[in-house]
């Protein structure tokens, strides 16, 4: 991504910025040297350029200090080319209250241009921090701090420009995902640590053991039940056989059997009919029916399902005769078309219509359910009567001295009692009916379906906790990898920048050879001829800073302009010539504010660079500021204040 500065303008600001327009052209020259006297607003321009690229807030005190006259408003705007697309970033100052309004103008966007705030391509928006802006809109103070190992200036510059911070941001994203997962899991369990996991696992295993025990009990109860039922059937058959052997009783027994069979058939039929009526709520009880009819009365008037019925009205409106036989004229057809919506509703209306119809049709069937229940009651009485008759028959046999019959009856009674007990036990173990479970006061340790539900719930808790823990361990592994990756990347980039910096330093700092021996937060400088260098001159410091910045900026994935104020003023003539010869070649765009004393040895190295360079001189005459782009004016401009 490439960023170029096409120019800037200032209005109603202090110094020479009351009305200044610097135009570097649609396609700016590679190098621009702007010569202006001290006090013309270089420092202010540099500060505002740094701030306009970033989202750094401007305090009211700073805004008020920018005021250039009696006007209550002022502005500063910079024009950019970002990957060939024009952008304008601006400040509108209000000197009444010290407020500032940021804006961005983008060509060819849907919003039509001017929008509040700094709106840049997202990757550039993240990149342009105040720290980075100090690098490419060069802050002379950096030349000192960049050597301070404690201030991390060099490391921060590398991290910012190669966007290692974005890689660090991945760890934050990972943490957010873990937090999300843990919150989700917290709804079920808080057991993420190993002790909690063990507790959950034990709880799940305990429930599983109970489930196995209950399953075993169910199997043994069923086996016993089957055995006892077979025994009962055998005993009943034996009793029947004993009774049949007595000719006096046989006929009565056969009659009893016949009546019992008939009763069974009738009871089954009645039971089926009663169940069918039970499925029609209006039939169950008058109170229920009343309530349903009350509900039906509250449903809105009969309407038709829209999807299938709207076509009917359209068809009808196209006919000459209505379904009622009357002729349809234009007025009637219009009425049908315009009012059909009153009779149409969403398709779900058909369900409501069916409910209303069912309620209406149920009017004549009230009491039928009660009648069926009454008949079933009668059949129960009849069954009890038949059972008593059978008992009497068996007792007659016993009283006639049939000892076998007495033994069989006793065994049969014992078998039936045992079967009742086993059936009760089986129900307690297996019932899924929640009402019965409550009535019998069952819990997960005595009822298999409840135990199965408990095992599932405990297993789910364990699974969630286990997944969360696994997720957390994965997150820690991934974050460790990212940290290691960052450390290695920073190490490699430091070394690459260090080597490149030294290559440049060997050419720039010819009067005394300097080397960067280590980058670790800041730059550690030494002279190859001596040991580590404790003190360096201002010129040497600047040489190191230029060598470092050009090495950093020229190979970074972002091609940024380099703006510098008085680039050579503290360098001696030999070094400034080398700086002028070497440094600018590393940038796509370099803007240099110079004063007249920097022409010799520095600015003059650009005189023969032809169309790649532009020379601007800002001149103030009789209180009016004007711009001159002629080289001869640049060469001869006398900065009285500087002189």
């Amino acid at each position: 991504m490439q960023v170029l500065i096409r120019g800037w303008s200032a209005r109603n600001l202090r110094g020479g910025l009351r009305s200044l327009e610097i135009d570097l052209g649609e396609q700016p020259n590679r190098w621009t040297l702007i010569q202006m006297a001290n006090g013309m607003g270089k420092t202010t321009t540099m500060t505002l350029l740094r701030q306009i690229f970033t989202n750094e807030p401007l305090p009211p005190a700073q805004v008020l200090e920018l005021r250039g006259g009696s006007e209550v408003e002022g502005n500063f705007e910079v024009r950019l080319l970002i990957d060939g697309k024009p952008y304008r970033l601006g400040f509108e100052f209000d000197f009444r209250d010290g407020s500032v309004h940021r804006y961005t103008v983008r060509a060819g966007t849907r919003d039509g241009g001017k929008v509040p705030g700094r709106v840049l391509p997202s990757e550039l928006g993240d990149l342009l921090t105040p720290e980075l802006a100090r690098l490419f809109v060069f802050d002379g103070e950096l030349a000192r701090t960049i050597r301070d190992m404690k201030q991390q200036t060099a490391d921060n510059a590398i991290r910012a420009l190669y966007r290692l911070g974005q890689i660090t941001g991945l760890k934050t994203s990972v943490d957010k995902l873990v937090d999300l997962e843990q919150r989700r899991a917290a709804a079920m369990t808080s057991a993420i640590e190993e002790r909690g996991m063990t507790r959950l696992r034990n709880a799940r295993d305990d429930a599983t053991k109970v489930k196995r025990r209950l399953e075993k009990e169910v199997r043994s109860t069923r086996t016993l039940l089957d055995e006892r039922r077979a025994e009962r059937n055998r005993l009943e058959a034996a009793v029947e056989e004993r009774l049949s052997e007595d000719e006096g009783l046989r006929e009565r027994l056969e009659d009893l059997n016949r009546r019992e069979l008939l009763l069974k058939v009738e009871t089954n039929a009645l039971g089926g009919e009663a169940l069918a009526l039970l499925r029609q709520p209006p039939q169950v009880h008058p109170r229920l029916r009343e309530r349903l009819q009350f509900l039906g009365g509250r449903l809105f008037e009969l309407k038709l399902p829209e999807t299938i019925s709207s076509e009917f009205f359209r068809d009808l409106a196209s006919k000459d005769v209505c379904v009622c036989g009357r002729p349809l004229g234009h007025a009637e057809k219009d009425h049908i078309t315009n009012h059909s919506h009153r009779y149409l509703a969403q398709d779900q209306i058909s369900v409501i219509n069916q409910m209303k119809l069912a309620l209406r049709e149920s009017q004549d069937e009230v009491g039928e359910f009660d009648a069926k229940i009454g008949q079933l009651g009668e059949k129960l009485v009849e069954r009890q009567s038949l059972k008593s008759a059978r008992d009497r028959l068996e007792l007659e046999s016993v009283s006639d001295g049939d000892d076998d019959m007495e033994r069989l009856r006793r065994q049969l009674a014992e078998a039936k009692t045992e079967i009742e007990r086993l059936e009760s036990q089986h129900e307690r173990l297996t019932t899924r009916d929640t009402h019965r479970q409550r009535t019998l006061r069952l819990n997960w340790e005595s009822n298999l379906p409840m135990c199965e539900a408990e095992v599932k719930e405990r297993d789910d808790r364990l699974t969630v906790a286990s997944n969360t823990r696994s997720f957390k361990l994965k997150a820690e592994t991934l974050k460790d990898l990212i940290t290691d990756f960052e450390r290695r990347a920073l190490g490699r980039l430091r070394e690459r920048v260090r080597v490149r910096t030294n290559e440049k330093l060997h050419q720039i700092a010819r009067t005394e050879r300097l080397e960067v021996t280590r980058i670790a937060g800041g730059l550690e400088i030494s002279s190859p001829d001596t040991a580590a260098k404790a003190g360096v001159s201002e010129g040497q410091s600047l040489s190191v800073a230029y060598a470092f910045l050009t090495s950093l900026l020229s190979e970074a994935p972002y091609r940024l302009p380099f703006v510098v104020d008085s680039p050579a003023v503290s360098l001696d003539n030999v070094n400034r010539r080398e700086v002028g010869r070497l440094i600018p070649s590393f940038f796509d765009q370099m803007i240099m504010f110079v004063i007249s004393s920097e022409r010799e040895g520095f600015a003059d190295t650009f005189y023969d660079k032809g169309d790649d360079v532009r020379f601007l001189t800002v001149i103030r005459e009789n209180g009016v500021v004007r711009l001159d782009d002629r080289l001869k004016v640049f060469k001869t401009f006398q900065d009285r204040e500087a002189a």
């Binding site: 974005q166 994965k474 290695r488 490699r492 690459r496």
Partner: protein
């Protein structure tokens, strides 16, 4: 945006130094995630996918 050669080499070194060998799919997705992160274009779903693909050694306490 492609990773800077030194940044990429650092990532490959970090893969090699991991205590547990990660799958080729994990490595491919993490490279892509880093590329996207460099242009502030990483999606949460991509981070989640890489996280899910991360292989760890879990010590059983049983």
């Amino acid at each position: 945006m492609k990773l800077d050669p030194d940044v990429r080499a650092a990532l490959e070194e970090a893969f090699v130094e991991m205590p547990v060998t990660q799958s080729a799919e994990f490595q491919r997705r993490l490279r892509k995630l880093c590329e996207n992160a460099l242009i502030s274009n990483q999606a949460e779903s991509e981070v989640r996918r890489v996280l899910e693909l991360t292989v760890v050694e879990i010590e059983e306490d049983e």
